[in-house]
């Protein structure tokens, strides 16, 4: 496909390189070839049923991987029996679908089972320049590798399975410049939360974000995954960072990465994956990292957040009546009052997990804080590793011992209380410090109250028994790349 512009963004280059044909030039609709997908048990069933009803086959079964992650329990000694009949129905139907259509499946008890967006990168299934569409909004995670990942609904999963393509509308380009160096104690999670607060929950709707700037190179590949993952919470349906040596090194030793001559050729091509120097973006956002503080949400939308040192905003100061009503409703739901200092908020639960923050570096981050400390007696705290591989790695490093002696439950892999589709749920009005990505009403359980933050901040809150500033805790510099 011919480039439309002389200077193109990385996003446009990937889209151009995967355009099978234009469908509607006026509205930017095209048929986009998809290199990989990952399927889960809860958004895929109706797609398989649709294929069956129409007597269609899967175009390229080996490009898909099935992973059970949303409905499975995370307690020790789990089996293939799900806690509820609905979950059982879904996991059984999923196993049948994968078997009949020839798709590889990581079932509940598979040694590589885990959250889809944690499993795919650790396999080496995600590589720079590729397209990945999957039935989960956080497919944006793969942008950390310089891949274009985006979420699709079930009808589009069916379309993908039958044709290896999706009908795709080209997005506009936004560049987010992470300028300056990130201060000690500030994590990737704080950066992306600060971005969402700055541009709003729909600030990037209609855009693909490209992360750039000195602050990006400073972040580990897993940190970049956290940022790209959560970019969907400001509406971005694509969040990319140009791949660099750190990315190549990360992919290199993964089980399904290319080897030998194929690897050399691939890396040579990947080095060219970047936006042209003279490219103009439709929107530029500057996010200076030097002034970022640890971030915490106080409301029920991911953009309703504040630095830990701040107080809950007063809706009466807002000029916009709609916004005032939304704020008031959020405060009412969360059981909070305007002007209350954020660090005075007492918690009942602490949760470290999810595709945003349950990789090995996230667990190391929490372990730095928890080593030699104890969870406050009134707090129930749990850690759910992102995958069974992450769990094994953490145990090899002895992190599980730190967690357990601090008073955290050390559980098995899955989405767990990120969306509480299994048996891990908040009771009504229970308040949780959570390393997840959505603080929506009822997300972690009916009338449950979620405060989003980094794993380090969850650990700090668990110890203090209330939301607390991890920087005040005398934690050694967190070298998450190497661990304790």
């Amino acid at each position: 496909m011919k480039p439309e512009r002389a200077h193109r963004t990385l996003y446009d280059k990937i889209v151009d390189a995967h355009s099978v044909r234009m469908l509607d030039a006026a509205s930017g609709l095209l048929l986009l070839y998809i290199d990989r997908t990952v399927l889960n048990e809860y958004t895929s069933p109706q797609a398989f049923s649709g294929l069956r009803e129409a007597h269609r086959r899967v175009w390229r079964p080996e490009a898909a991987l099935g992973v059970v992650d949303h409905v499975n329990p995370t307690a020790a000694g789990r089996t293939r029996t799900m806690p509820d009949p609905g979950g059982q129905l879904q996991t059984d139907y999923f196993a049948k679908n994968c078997a009949e259509f020839g798709i590889e499946l990581f079932d509940v008890l598979h040694p590589m089972q885990g959250i889809e967006h944690v499993v795919m990168p650790e396999l080496g299934a995600i590589m720079p320049g590729m397209t990945v569409a999957a039935g989960d909004s956080h497919t944006t995670t793969y942008g950390a590798f310089g891949a274009l990942g985006f979420g699709i609904g079930t009808s589009d999963i069916e379309h993908y399975l039958a044709t290896q393509t999706v009908i795709y509308r080209r997005l506009k380009n936004m560049r987010v410049n992470l300028s300056g160096r990130r201060p000690q104690g500030i994590t990737a999670k704080d950066i992306v939360m600060a971005l969402i607060r700055k541009i709003g929950a729909s600030g990037a709707t209609g855009y693909a974000i490209e992360f750039a700037g000195a602050g990006l190179g400073d972040l580990s590949v897993e940190g970049r995954m956290t940022i790209c993952n959560m970019a969907v919470e400001c509406g971005a349906r694509g969040a990319i960072a140009a791949p660099d040596e750190a990315v190549f090194a990360y992919v290199a030793d993964k089980p399904r990465a290319p080897r030998g001559e194929a690897w050399e050729r691939a890396v040579a091509a990947w080095r060219r994956l970047k936006s042209d120097d003279a490219t103009e973006f439709d929107r530029e956002v500057d996010l200076p990292l030097t002034s970022i503080e640890p971030m915490v949400t106080w409301g029920t939308s991911p953009d309703q957040s504040m630095p830990i040192s701040a107080a809950i905003p007063d809706p009466r100061t807002l000029g916009d009546a709609d916004k005032r009503r939304d704020y008031e409703r959020a405060l009412d739901y969360m059981g909070l009052a305007p002007g209350q200092s954020i660090s005075s908020i007492k918690i009942d639960r602490a949760f470290i997990g999810s595709c945003t923050n349950a990789r090995i570096e996230d667990l190391r981050e929490a372990a730095f804080v928890l080593r030699g400390r104890k969870v406050a007696p009134h707090v129930r705290a749990m850690i759910v590793p992102g995958s069974s591989s992450v769990r094994r790695q953490a145990e090899a490093e002895g992190l599980d011992l730190i967690f357990k002696s601090a008073g955290f439950e050390w559980r098995q892999a899955g989405c767990s209380m990120c969306l509480a589709m299994n048996d891990d749920v908040l009771a009504p009005e229970e308040r949780c410090a959570s390393s997840t990505n959505r603080n929506f009403e009822g997300r972690q359980g009916a009338r449950g109250r979620t405060h989003l933050m980094s794993p380090a901040m969850v650990a700090a809150a668990a110890v203090a028994g209330r939301l607390a500033d991890v920087r005040a805790m005398d934690v050694p510099a967190m070298d998450v790349a190497h661990g304790l």
């Binding site: 509205s27 879904q90 699709i152 589009d156 044709t163 939304d326 969306l419």
Partner: protein, 218 residues
Amino acid sequence: MCAQWMCPQWMWRMGFEHFAASFGLAAPMPAANIDTDVIMPKQFLKGIDRAGLDAGLFYGLRFAENGAPNPDFILNKTAWRDTRFLVVGPNFGCGSSREHAVWGLRQFGIRALIGTTFAGIFFDNCARNGLLAIEASSSDVALLMAAATDPKRNHFCVDLVNQTITTEDSVIRYQIDESRKTALMRGLDAIGVTLEGREAIALFEDMHFAQNPWLRPS
């Protein structure tokens, strides 16, 4: 003035959707960022088919904890009982990709949504299921929101052919992509249409793997 008799009869067939125009009641849902967890809570996501999702629509808002209808929720009030259109706040449908949200809206009888912005995945899911999501200017949405809020003025006519929304005292025009309009009006089988070009996909694939051999899955 729009009069009911001036509206082309709305045309829906269960199963596949053929939309020309639709007449009915509109309800206001002005809150920003109404997410798909709120539209279709997780306890309704445990099926393997599309059935029964009308029961789960806005469950936490529609029902009190004891299961009784919440009298304060707009769709439970007499004047909005047979709502066909929702005038919604910005970023409606954000969050999870769950298409169950759209299936539930359709099964509940919602034909169209009108708002300033919709979340991307949700917007596509609407198009795939014959639910007309209309992006209108904030002044038009404000006007329609006011009309939908007033039980004396909340009869709307949503016309897809002419791209208009008519209320008792105003007519607004909206934009929609030609391809989405055609799909909504004719109810095309998108997969069937794509597969008519299967050779082009196969040719593309050959070229793609020749240039990027490491991308060929094995």
